[in-house]
Structures are given as structure tokens and as C-alpha cells.
């Protein structure tokens, strides 16, 4: 047996400083925008994940180095041939309505419900032969082939375990229980006053002794970014999750007395900002033109000025926080001369290039303007198109752009969050989350396919290194920044960010110093 993890030991080890944690208190967290629903697994919006990560749990959690940690599963084993994953579940877990939680819930949630409703999990489940429950507290996933990233999909947002007794035999998407979510998590749903707040209360029957520590949590819906900053300054809220205030406010808030911040808690997502370049038509169809864009952009300036120093210049399609990253690739520095050279080689005739910004606030608008200025400097004629969220999605889905800003989550592994943007089999109109640029390279396709199912990490690394070298040379998209969204909170709040998804599932361990 390889990778045998005796998680009960781990739990004991983690539980040791328990004496130091204070119980009680209320936490107010900013939530923006208001989520359409809290039904994780059917709705995947970021704010849904932020709130519902306290209500629902998956089998595992991940530390900030992406190592699996126990959650609903107290221990797990992966067989020698990497085909059988066996999970032992905690035995005294109850749903929020008092029903016992068993392996049947896991089999139902994953094999039936999520397979139908969660596109992100569906991709991984294609590698799964069967999911069985030999007894009430054991679940076995039998794979068709080795699938390296599989150990990374047991995260609350990807695979939330939902109650069989409520959903079996119903129309999942229209089940009335979707408005009153029932999970196994450390906090129970209490009330949602639309447009105002969502209130969660402590789950007194939680299976970990003494946990959770907080009595109640209010997620406060505050639609204006400046008001959110004021709310934190005034002490109305205690936590600003990453991205809830504009960048220029971050510095001022962090410098206040008693305020702490951390860039951790985003490792699983590793948000990678990039700009699709239309590989099908227009100037961007030419590789030399795309290289000219890479050399023209001053990404350090963007990081230092527009993002106030947060983040890191992206050098590859894989984030440096994600597994299998390599820096052994071509590096594009800010170099106007090289850009002009490449531009000349591309035979660019001055055709206007349309830049589609991301309609997610001022920062992104300014970023598009900075890019336009950089392009102007090397003689590329460009214009920034005005859009809103729906229009942005539509334009990407219809391939109606030359350069389009976006940022994508990587989910810890290139096979989960990177390959989807470059595989030619993933070119399809109608979705903003596939190979939108229209990049086609059979060699890269073959290597991605092989790397996903290669048996050892070493074999995978070798393939992913080659892939990254090839992609960076082909520049199907312009990689911009590895974005960092600092979480800002009052220093009395302890252990808020301990996992790779940060505040999303962090409240299980969080406590307030009394």
C-alpha cells in the first residue's frame, strides 16, 4: 500500500493546541455579489462557494501546499496500481436535519446528482469505472485508468456531498430544499434576507469535538466597493475575502491598526489572468503578431501600479502555484524593440484590434487601457470595447473578439484547470470556459492526453514541461498575471486561512481571540 495516510493521527496532531482556542463570538464577512443560490454542486459561483463551503463538506480538504487532509473521510488509501481509491468515513456525522450521514450519501451525491449537475466534476468522473459502498462508512472509487489529478477533486466546491434522503428521486435543480441547504458542515443555514445578509449558526452536533468555535456568522451583502471598504474601517465587518475591495483601498486598509492580511488561501484556484487571442482570424491569427503582443506588454507595471504590487507575472500556461509548473521556457520581457521586430515579421497592416476587457470593476478596465497604451507604443492600432458581464460571456462564446481578458482557476493540476483551454477537442462555440482562442496543435493535444493518465508524477512532469515549452513558444493566449487576492481581516480572528481554498472552508477552524 502506497500513500497510506493515517489521518486519525493527523487529526490528533492538529487538535493538540485545542486548549488555546477560544469559543464563541460572531464573525461578519463581506459577500459580493449576492449569490443566486447556496446549492453548491448545482451552482458554482464564487460567492456560492464562499458561503456554502461552511454548510457542505467533501471527503477531503487541502492544505496550502495542496496536500490532502481529512474532512468527511478520516483516512484514505490509493492502491499500488493507482486505480482504487478507498475512503474511510467519519462514523458519527449527522446531516443538519439529524439524519445520519453514510457512504450511501457519497455514492448518490457523486455518481447520480453531481454527475448530472456539475460540469467540472463530470470531466474527472469520465475516468471512474465505479463508485461503491462496501459498508456504511467506506467508499471505493474504481478508476478505468490512472488519473493523477484525481486525489485533488475531493474539494468542497468540486465534490460537495449532498443528502440522499432529500434529493433522491427529485428534480434536483428545482428541489425546494435548494433554498434551505442541509449539509454536514460546521455551520447550519439559518436565514437569508435577500439583498441584506445570510446568517449561519454553529452546528452543535458537529463531529469534531469543540469545533466549530464561532457561534454565528453573518455574510453581509454590500454592493458598492467603496462602502465595503468603509464597512471594514468602521468595524461593521471583520473579514474582506479576496477581491472584495478595489486594489487601491487595500494598502490603506492593511495599514490600519489591528488589521492582518494574507495572500494565502488561493492555491487550489491559482487564478491565472490571461487574454485570449483569436487564433482563427485577424492579426492575432499570426504567431509573430501574438509574440509582438507579449513583448509589447509591460506586465510588471500592471502588477505594481494597477494591482498595487500584488501578484506575479505569469510566465507559462501553468501557474507557479499549481503542480508541474516549469520556468524552463522562453521568457517574454517588456521589450518594445523585439515587439516591433515581431510585428514587422507578421506583416501587420494596421488593422484595428478589438480588446474586450473583463467587466469586473475598475481594475480590469484600467488594465485594458494599459494594454491598449502598450500596443499603441509599438504601433498596434487597438480599441477597447465596452461590455457588461452578459455581453462579455456572449462575445467570448461567439468568438467575437481579437483580444479578450479573462482569468481562469487551475484547480491544483494542469489536467483539471489548464488543458481545457488548449485542447483542440475543447473548441466549441457557446461556452466561455473552453478553448476559446481556437488553438489547434495535435502534438500538444496528444501530450495533454498522455500526461493526464500517466502513471507517475515524474512521467507527468516530463510531459507537462514539454507542453509548457511548446505553448509558450506558440503563445495561443497572452498570459498576464498570477493574480493574488489578499484576504483582509482583524487580527483577533485566528486560523481563518489554513487551506488551499482559504475562507471558503476556513470557518471550521477559525476562532476569535476573546
Amino acid at each position: 500500500m502506497r500513500n497510506l495516510v493515517t489521518a486519525s493521527l493527523l487529526t490528533v496532531a492538529m487538535g493538540l493546541p485545542a486548549a488555546a482556542q477560544d469559543s464563541g463570538g460572531r464573525l461578519d464577512i463581506v459577500l459580493q455579489p449576492e449569490p443566486p443560490s447556496l446549492m453548491l454542486g448545482m451552482v458554482q459561483n464564487a460567492p456560492t462557494q464562499l458561503v456554502a463551503g461552511d454548510i457542505f463538506e467533501s471527503l477531503l480538504r487541502y492544505d496550502t501546499d495542496l496536500n490532502p487532509q481529512p474532512s468527511l473521510a478520516k483516512s484514505w488509501e490509493i492502491s499500488e496500481d493507482a486505480l482504487t481509491y478507498t475512503f474511510k468515513l467519519h462514523e458519527d456525522v449527522k446531516w443538519h436535519d439529524g439524519e445520519p450521514f453514510t457512504s450511501a450519501d457519497v455514492v448518490f451525491a457523486v455518481d447520480k446528482l453531481l454527475r448530472e449537475t456539475n460540469p467540472r466534476l463530470r470531466v474527472s468522473l469520465e475516468h471512474v469505472e465505479s463508485i461503491t459502498a462496501p459498508d456504511d462508512h467506506t467508499v471505493v472509487f474504481q478508476l478505468k485508468n490512472p488519473f493523477g489529478p484525481f486525489i485533488g477533486v475531493f474539494e468542497a466546491g468540486t465534490m460537495p456531498i449532498l443528502p440522499k434522503h432529500i434529493y433522491e428521486g427529485t428534480d434536483y435543480l428545482n428541489n425546494p430544499a435548494n433554498n434551505t441547504p442541509i449539509g454536514t458542515g460546521p455551520y447550519k443555514f439559518n436565514e437569508w434576507e435577500k439583498g441584506n445578509y445570510i446568517h449561519l449558526v454553529k452546528n452543535e452536533d458537529y463531529y469534531l469535538d469543540d469545533q466549530p468555535y464561532l457561534d454565528e456568522v453573518y455574510y453581509r451583502i454590500i454592493p458598492d466597493a467603496a462602502s465595503r471598504a468603509v464597512a471594514f474601517e468602521n468595524g461593521e465587518v471583520d473579514v474582506l475575502p479576496g477581491g472584495s475591495v478595489e486594489n487601491w483601498d487595500v494598502k490603506r486598509l492593511v495599514e490600519m491598526d489591528g488589521v492582518c492580511s494574507t495572500g494565502k488561501g488561493w492555491e487550489y484556484f491559482a487564478p491565472h489572468a490571461m487574454a485570449w487571442m483569436n487564433n482563427r482570424e485577424g492579426p492575432t491569427a499570426d504567431k509573430n503578431f501574438r509574440k509582438a503582443v507579449m513583448y509589447a506588454m509591460d506586465r510588471e507595471f500592471v502588477r505594481d501600479v494597477i494591482w498595487n504590487g500584488f501578484g506575479k507575472v505569469a510566465t507559462s500556461p501553468v501557474s507557479s502555484k499549481t503542480n508541474f509548473y516549469t520556468d524552463d521556457t522562453i521568457m517574454y520581457d517588456h521589450n518594445a524593440e523585439k515587439a516591433e521586430e515581431m510585428l514587422a515579421a507578421s506583416g501587420y497592416d494596421g488593422e484595428e484590434v478589438r480588446i474586450l476587457p473583463l467587466p469586473y470593476g475598475e481594475t480590469w478596465q484600467r488594465w485594458a487601457e494599459a494594454m491598449k497604451q502598450n500596443l499603441d507604443e509599438v504601433g498596434i492600432n487597438s480599441t477597447v470595447v465596452a461590455t457588461d458581464v452578459a455581453g462579455w460571456n456572449q462575445k467570448q462564446s461567439d468568438w467575437d473578439f481579437d483580444i479578450a481578458f479573462t482569468y481562469l482557476y487551475q484547480y491544483g493540476d494542469p489536467a483539471l484547470g489548464v488543458s481545457r483551454s488548449y485542447l483542440s477537442s475543447n473548441i466549441e462555440k457557446g461556452s466561455p470556459w473552453n478553448n476559446v482562442a481556437g488553438y489547434v496543435n495535435e502534438e500538444v493535444d496528444a501530450m495533454f492526453d498522455e500526461a493526464a493518465v500517466a502513471a507517475t508524477p515524474e512521467a507527468r512532469q516530463e510531459l507537462y514541461t514539454k507542453i509548457q515549452q511548446q505553448l509558450v513558444d506558440d503563445v495561443p493566449v497572452a498570459w498576464l498575471l498570477e493574480i493574488e487576492f489578499p484576504t483582509i481581516y482583524r487580527c483577533e480572528v485566528k486560523d481563518l486561512v489554513t487551506t488551499a481554498i482559504g475562507v471558503n472552508d476556513g470557518l471550521r477552524d477559525a476562532w476569535i481571540e476573546q
Binding site: G195, I222, P223, D224, V230, N393
Partner: protein, 321 residues
């Protein structure tokens, strides 16, 4: 024509207007790029064809547009505003949930601006050309010309951040579990800044209109007659001047009252006030068709209702009409 007949005639026309508004809105909204399924898929950060198809089926968007149109219009005719699939709630419930907050805010601002506008406008007219008049009109000009958004932010900085007198945003102290008098007081404290922000602009409008209207009416012959009859200045002002000068103000107030439901988007956003304006704006960005159409319908109905009410008020103020 009797009052009842007039109201009946107006109401019949109003219903036809409403129906036309519904039809126009329906097609305008569907002409905007993107649909709710695309927005949901966009927000999800991951989507395949099956996911988007599922959403479209769930939202009823897989049906041809004319079927969707017929379903909607026949629903509205039966007073069923449809279902918000995004928010998983009937649209009528969503709107009724948000309506009290908006009405509280806009009616307060409306009442305040009308009262202060008329009082200050008359005061300014009575002191025409003197420093009191200049002070009042300058203040009005300032509030009239300053963008609402900026006034809101400055009010927050002054009254909330610096002085700490009023909460910066929100509909009440969250989780305080207040009741009775304390709850009313808490609500009023939260109401102050948004109502002030929203009210200042319209106060300036009413003030300027009242002032010029009073000055105009004061020059008229019947005022001279009244004066020569020996009536006191106060009586002339109340019974002769004000009553006539108010007509244009009432017209304007009627127009503004129509916007009570949908007109506070900005204020509701800055002050996190859970009202209809925000619901409308958020539904627009999410392309939540049914909710958006519902809010438009309710707003349109309000505009029409207030137009009718304005007409009635005219008759009360000026029996000649």
C-alpha cells in the same frame, strides 16, 4: 365630466399602456446580448454544453421566443409575474420583499424634499434679491449640480466615518434582534443618510420651481386685487399665491413620484439598501428576464397610478380643471 368617469377613462387607457409596455420590454430585454444561462455559466467558471443546455431548459429558454412571449403575457394577464429561476423564487414575492424598503426610502426622501423645497422656495421668493434669497438659491444650485453619487460618498465620510453619528449603510443593525421603539429608531438612523442623499437633489428642484412660480404669480392682477381689498400679506400668500404657484410643482412631484419604485438604484447601491432599484440593476446584469420585466411592470404601473393621482390633486387645488 365627473371625477369617477375621468378616473375610469384614465384607468382603461392605463391598462392598454401597461400591456404595450410589457410587450415592448419583453422584446427589448431579449434583444440584449447574452442570456441568464450564459451568465450563470460564466459565473460558474466552468461549463460544458450539457450544463448550459440544462440551465436553458430549466429557465425555459429552449422554447421559441414567441412561446416564451405568450407564456409570459398570458401569465401577466392572470397577475402571475412568473418565476425567477436565478433566485429560485416567484417574481412577485421577490418584488414584494423589496418593495417596503424602497418605499420607505423614496417616500421619506420625497416627502422631505417636497416639504423643504416648497418652504424654502417661498422663503426665497419673499426675500427676492436680498441676501437670504441668495443664500437659499446658492444652496439649491449646489445640491442641484452635484452628482448624487458624490454627495452620498461625502455624506458617508462626514456623518459616518468622521463623526460616527449615523451608520454608513444597511437597512438595520444586522443580528441586533431589536423590537418596538428601538427597532424604529434603529431603522430611522439607517434611513437618514440615504434619504438625505436622495432628497437633496429633488429638494433643490422643488425649491427653484416654487421660487420662480411664486414670483410669477405675485405679479398677477388678482394678487394686486387681493392686496387692494386689504387682505393681510400672509393670507394673500397662503390663499392666493401659493395655491396657484403650486400647480407646476405638483406636476413635477407627480413625475417624480412615478419614479419612486425604480429611481433609487444608485442610492440603494451605495448604502446597501435592500430595495427594488438594486434588484432591478442586479437582474439586469444577470439577465434575469422575469424579475426585470416584473420590476419594470410594477414601476410602469406606479408611474401611471401617480399620473392619475396627480390629476386628482390638480382638481383639488384648482377646481377649474
Amino acid at each position: 365630466m365627473t371625477l369617477a368617469a375621468a378616473i375610469f377613462g384614465r384607468a382603461a387607457k392605463a391598462l392598454i399602456t401597461l400591456l404595450l409596455i410589457v410587450i415592448l420590454n419583453f422584446f427589448l430585454i431579449h434583444a440584449a446580448p447574452g442570456d441568464p444561462a450564459m451568465v450563470m455559466a460564466g459565473e460558474a467558471g466552468a461549463a460544458d454544453e450539457q450544463f448550459i443546455q440544462q440551465l436553458r431548459e430549466q429557465f425555459g429558454l429552449d422554447q421559441p421566443l414567441y412561446v416564451q412571449f405568450w407564456n409570459y403575457v398570458s401569465g401577466v394577464l392572470q397577475l402571475d409575474l412568473g418565476y425567477s429561476y436565478r433566485q429560485q423564487m416567484p417574481v412577485l414575492d421577490l418584488i414584494l420583499d423589496r418593495l417596503p424598503a424602497t418605499l420607505l426610502l423614496t417616500l421619506t426622501a420625497f416627502g422631505m424634499s417636497l416639504l423643504l423645497g416648497v418652504v424654502f422656495g417661498m422663503a426665497a421668493a419673499a426675500r427676492q434679491g436680498k441676501w437670504g434669497d441668495s443664500a437659499i438659491t446658492s444652496m439649491a444650485l449646489l445640491f442641484y449640480a452635484t452628482p448624487l453619487f458624490w454627495v452620498a460618498l461625502m455624506a458617508v465620510v462626514l456623518f459616518s466615518v468622521k463623526l460616527g453619528w449615523f451608520p454608513a449603510f444597511g437597512y438595520g443593525t444586522v443580528g441586533a434582534d431589536l423590537s418596538g421603539f428601538e427597532m424604529v429608531l434603529d431603522r430611522l438612523r439607517h434611513l437618514f443618510l440615504p434619504a438625505l442623499t436622495l432628497g437633496l437633489f429633488f429638494m433643490a428642484v422643488y425649491l427653484r420651481m416654487t421660487r420662480s412660480s411664486v414670483l410669477e404669480v405675485s405679479q398677477m392682477d388678482f394678487v394686486k386685487t387681493a392686496r387692494s381689498k386689504g387682505l393681510t400679506e400672509g393670507t394673500i400668500r397662503r390663499r392666493h399665491i401659493l395655491r396657484n404657484a403650486l400647480l407646476p410643482v405638483v406636476t413635477l412631484a407627480g413625475l417624480q413620484a412615478g419614479q419612486l419604485v425604480g429611481g433609487a438604484v444608485l442610492t440603494e447601491t451605495v448604502f446597501a439598501w435592500p430595495g427594488i432599484g438594486r434588484l432591478m440593476f442586479e437582474s439586469l446584469t444577470a439577465r434575469d428576464y422575469n424579475t426585470l420585466l416584473g420590476v419594470f411592470l410594477v414601476s410602469a404601473a406606479m408611474v401611471i397610478a401617480f399620473n392619475i393621482i396627480t390629476d386628482i390633486v390638480y382638481r383639488l387645488i384648482d377646481p377649474r380643471i
